[in-house]
């Protein structure tokens, strides 16, 4: 893990979980897997607090544990998973576009709580939705359950590995930690519950057998009438599936940019058809026959079979190879990375200027170029070209390739060619992205801290106004209270708000870049 990533993880953990969790989390990321006592000793925190922090981290799938020999349990942090926290708003928003508010709230609850049982999710979401509805109306559990089932069917939520069932009771002392297992086919299996609306008795018809406790404690019963039927079956958001969705979106929009709407629709259909059949890291989708595609096209598109064939041929012939014929009928995933990386790098290079971008694209296309050739092809005066080349070289976007003419590699008789190594350039860019997000977060925190006094004051004033309005105060009084915040202060607040918004928005967009770059590895 690079320093930049560790720093970013530290900031994220601190913002979301507080300093204690941050300390433990960062320590684990830095040092790898460690047992409990060593963590407590090395970080200088009390055992109790370490336990609490680890519980939180494990709950949110940021730390996993493993039992080693002699019964020692070691904990390990997943740095990449911590970095995903940046993307939470995007996941939630995507679900909103696909499954509307209900789906959005389901995913939000799952992300906020790490993992939850289905009944817990349904209950929370129903309560939240009811609050936003008019008085007297309540949200039915059934509708929420339906959306949940749909999310599970499309693999956006998945089951967490659970404690395996034991046939006999406690054969000797239980192991120091349960080994959680999950069956591949069970991952999206929704337990049969029929949860009936708010406030009424909850009935449960069937229950799935998984999740029987191996604990020495007796099966805990609730203060409620019956035990929760899906006890022990926890669900979590399936981030990989979201990533696949984002990737598909990117491909489709790239095709739309390059060609027209219809071809992008075709590609979208192809991708949707292979959504569940292809694993997220496969370079190609399964081959699809044009008949299948024809049948699966959305209803609004009445293009004839012939036209479809024409489009497919067009896509296949495209030099960027989005679509290939027969054997490899979907080269999209691989290509998108190259395509968007170029796109990104070009726009990044707009920092250096459009001419730099031109040079860069040129070298990318021609693979290797000499200094003189760069000047000629790019039609840029020599001095400027040199300057830019060296700037890019120093930033590691370009590299030099030596080709000796003579066996003794004498510099005066060697060709020096400029070349772009996409992989390393992408990695460097990624590293910069991490750094920039860390900077953005720090700046935001700094801004907020600077103006903390003012923010608190304005919050208090708002609270006073709200309570006064509730008790029916006069206009004059309200006016007076509002004037407690002077005009320059108000302006300061405005500026602060604008800055914070800008910083937040930048974070979100840099994260989009990160996503594309990471999927390139």
């Amino acid at each position: 893990m690079t320093q930049a990533e560790i720093k970013l993880c530290s900031l994220l953990l601190q913002e979301h979980f507080g300093e204690i969790v941050e300390k433990i989390g960062v320590h684990l990321i830095r040092t790898g897997s460690q047992p409990l006592r060593v963590i407590a000793h090395d970080t200088g925190t009390s055992l109790d607090q370490v336990k609490k922090a680890l519980c939180v981290l494990i709950q949110h799938n940021l730390v996993s544990y493993q039992v080693h020999k002699r019964g020692v349990v070691e904990y390990e942090a997943q740095c990449s998973r911590v970095l995903r926290m940046l993307r939470y708003p995007r996941y939630i928003y995507t679900t909103k576009t696909l499954y509307s508010d209900t789906g959005e709230l389901i995913v939000e609850e799952l992300l906020l709580n790490g993992k939850l049982t289905m009944s817990a999710v349904v209950k929370k979401v129903a309560d939240r939705l009811t609050e936003t509805m008019e008085d007297g109306k309540t949200m039915d559990y059934a509708e929420v359950s339906n959306t949940f089932v749909r999310l599970a069917d499309t693999h956006f939520v998945q089951r967490c590995p659970s404690v395996p069932t034991t046939e006999n009771s406690d054969p000797g002392p239980p192991p120091p930690a349960p080994t959680l297992v999950i069956n591949e086919k069970d991952m999206y299996l929704v337990p049969k519950l029929s949860l009936i609306g708010k406030g009424k008795r909850r009935r449960s018809s069937d229950e799935d057998a998984a999740g029987e406790p191996k604990a020495k404690r007796p099966k805990h019963t609730t203060d409620n009438k019956e035990p929760i039927p899906d006890d022990g079956i926890y669900w979590q958001a399936n981030l990989d599936r979201f990533h696949q969705h984002f990737r598909d979106q990117a491909i489709v929009s790239a095709v739309a940019n390059r060609m027209d709407q219809t071809s992008s629709e075709i590609v979208r259909t192809m991708l949707r058809m292979s959504e569940i059949t292809t694993s997220s890291s496969a370079p190609f989708t399964q081959p699809l026959s044009s008949n299948e595609i024809f049948r699966s096209l959305p209803v609004g598109y009445n293009i004839s079979k012939q036209v479809l064939d024409q489009y497919l041929t067009l896509l296949a012939d495209d030099p960027l190879e989005f679509v290939g014929k027969s054997g490899d009928s979907g080269g999209g995933m691989y290509v998108i990375s190259i395509l968007t990386t170029c796109h990104l790098l070009s726009s990044f290079l707009s920092r250096f200027g459009s001419r730099c971008a031109r040079i860069f694209r040129l070298v990318l296309q021609k693979k290797h170029l000499e200094q003189k050739q760069v000047e000629d092809f790019a039609m840029i005066p020599a001095k400027e070209a040199k300057d830019m080349l060296y700037k890019m070289l120093s930033e590691n976007f370009m590299s030099l390739q030596e080709i000796p003419k003579t066996p003794d590699h004498a510099p005066s008789r060697t060709f020096y060619l400029y070349t772009v190594n996409i992989l390393s350039a992408a990695r460097m860019l990624l590293h910069r992205c991490y750094k920039s997000i860390a900077n953005l977060i720090e700046r935001r925190q700094f801004e907020t801290k600077e103006n903390k006094r003012l923010l608190e004051k304005s919050q208090r004033v708002e609270a006073i106004i709200a309570s006064m309005q509730a008790t029916g105060a006069e206009e004059a009084q309200l006016q007076e209270i509002e004037e407690m915040i002077t005009a320059p202060e108000r302006q300061q607040l405005e500026t602060l708000k604008r800055n914070v918004n800008k910083l937040d928005a930048s974070e979100i967009q840099v994260d989009e870049t990160i996503f594309l770059l990471e999927s390139y590895h």
Partner: protein, 223 residues
Amino acid sequence: MAGNKGRGRAAYTFNIEAVGFSKGEKLPDVVLKPPPLFPDTDYKPVPLKTGEGEEYMLALKQELRETMKRTPYFIETPEERQDIERYSKRYMKVYKEEWIPDWRRLPREMMPRNKCKKAGPKPKKAKDAGKGTSLTNTADVLKKIEELEKRDDGEKSDEENEDKEGSKEKSKEGDDDDDDDAAEQEEYDEEEQEEENDYINSYFEDGDDFGADSDDNMDEATY
């Protein structure tokens, strides 16, 4: 061969023309200090994307940030003792829901070893369900306790008692969740302070049910 560095002319070991500089051209000076902290950029950055989606995500992000601070997962650093006990601090304390993880999924060493078993491994379900639903019947609870008793074969009588005590107290406090929370939090706070004191650790091993319990299964005798 020692390279006539003198006379102000640098001599290169290779043909400078190959790399593109003509002879005698002025090269930029060697930089001897770290680059400036905020260098001027020649070009402005690309403007941020704006749109409905982006705005929504922005609002979401800020909301999530605030919400996370209020979840029970956000562990606050215990503040040091202030010299003066501020009156307002008492009323600004945010009462959070207590979260208890599912102990079955965690290694056994994670369970806090409490003298007071009440705050310890109580099932999460009990807490959650207890909050949302209406007040439970004492009769119901007693029935549950009987069931528990039947199932408990090798359990210590200690734990049973405390279980009963625990669930009874819970049901009585039933509706009044806030008190419950505060009580649990306070107990837990006491716990933490207690643990740091060795004296209490080794000489006193009891729960809050001191006196009400039977001392049968105590490991150490109380002096």
